[in-house]
């Protein structure tokens, strides 16, 4: 074998190792890992309750056969272009839920998309948004979830199409699309705006439905909030930037009121996937709903698709 041949072989071998290592479960934490995962104070379950409502955990994790929305047994199918996800049991049950988890394991799941056994989660679990929560807030959320009733039974395995069925690929996805930083307040803006920024971007994951996505399933950032695709056959999420094709005609008070009772300014009533979101935002305080509205109205208007009224 000539010199060139050897160099080529060496780089192919190296390339394979690099690709293998890059998709190994540790790669994300080596590059982006946050060693400030530890909370700085004792958890506050009451704050956790608000975050739980704003985060809409119930929408995906509630047991579909239970009338009590706080039974987090999981298993309600989430239909996506990549296949069907069955969100797991996150009740405090020690065997089937997350009852044996430590606080740090929970924080790492929520903020880094990494399981206690270090496998990466699918971003159908909206950790790309939740990563904006501080470890303190994530610990508050965990404290609240631990007060809920334990539920027996595991959710079925996801039914995903190839190549999405390969979890290893997610490590690359995370390296490419997951910004691991906590959301920082903007000192030039009001307290109300900052609260809204946090609730919309980190906790409420509103962008996850209200934005278009690229082929890898990641949000197209310069079109963020300008309207998203049909999710789960439940209709397209409209433009929520203050553009004519979006919320230009809505006052802050009108948006806040919609997030409480679902009525639009023309007294249409929210439907599709938003009806469930409003069940969650209805549990927030008036001040928090106004904060969300204030933040949405401060977004740069982006032209989106106009829609059936």
């Amino acid at each position: 074998m000539g010199r060139v041949g050897r160099t080529l072989l060496a780089s192919v071998v190296f390339g394979c190792f690099a690709a293998y290592w890059l998709t190994s479960f540790d790669a994300y934490s080596v590059f982006r890992g946050d060693d400030r995962l530890l909370p700085s104070r004792a958890p506050d379950g009451a704050k956790g309750k608000t975050l739980f409502a704003a985060g809409g955990c119930v929408s995906c994790h509630a047991s579909p056969d239970s009338t009590d929305r706080l039974h987090l047994g999981g298993g309600k199918p989430l239909v996506t272009p990549f296949g069907i996800f069955y969100p797991p049991n996150i009740s405090p049950d020690p065997d089937d839920g997350i009852g044996r988890w430590t606080g740090v394991q929970f924080i790492r799941a929520l903020r880094e998309g990494t399981a206690p056994d270090r496998h990466p989660y699918y971003p159908a679990f909206p950790y790309p948004s939740y990563r904006g929560m501080s470890p303190d807030d994530a610990a508050d959320l965990f404290a609240f979830i631990r007060t809920l009733p334990p539920v027996k039974g595991k959710a079925p395995d996801h039914e995903l199409t190839f190549p999405y069925s390969v979890r290893r690929g997610l490590v690359l996805w995370k390296l490419a699309f997951l910004n691991g930083t906590v959301l920082h307040r903007d000192p030039n803006r009001s307290t109300l705006w900052n609260r809204g920024y946090y609730l919309v971007e980190a906790v409420g994951h509103c962008a996850e439905c209200h934005s278009p996505r690229n082929l890898a399933g990641a949000i197209v950032q310069d079109k963020r909030f300008s309207g998203g695709p049909d999710i789960d056959g439940k209709g397209a999420a409209p433009n929520i930037t203050p553009d004519q094709t979006g919320l230009a005609g809505w006052s802050e008070a009108a948006i806040a009121s919609y997030l409480k009772d679902g009525f639009t300014p023309d007294f249409d009533s929210a439907g599709g996937a938003m009806a469930e979101v409003i069940r969650n935002t209805a549990e927030l305080s008036d001040a928090d709903r106004l904060a969300i509205a204030t933040y949405l109205k401060s977004l740069t208007p982006i032209q989106g698709q106009s829609r059936v009224r």
């Binding site: 009533s269 599709g272 698709q305 106009s306």
Partner: protein, 147 residues
Amino acid sequence: MNANRLLLALSLTAVVTVAFASTESIGDRQRIMKANGAATKPVVAMLKGEAPFDLATVQKSLADYQTGIATFVTLFPDDSKSGAKTAASPKIWDDTAGFKAAADKFASDAKTAASAITDEASFKAAMPTVLKNCGSCHETWRVKDAQ
């Protein structure tokens, strides 16, 4: 008129009639829903304390809901699944019984409230149950798409 032309004319008439029939029921059902919106506006203002309680207005809205929804469910012929900017979910035709049950529940909740509401306190207690029907029916049976 030769046979070909006759055929053409006939089929054109058929096409126009079908298009017209479905557009008409879509328009009719959307008008009923718009009226629901209009009937709901003063009621919500009262619930929020932005307008004084007025029993006659509340009773009129409750009566309008009941007559409106009775006609509404008859306006879903097979040829009105799409077109004319309808936001009706195709599920309405897949599970007509389920859809009718949602409509019946709305009508019966409105009826129960109409007899229960005599003053502001009973209004505040009974009205939210009726209004929950708007969102819960839209959650399952209506899909707004981007155009």
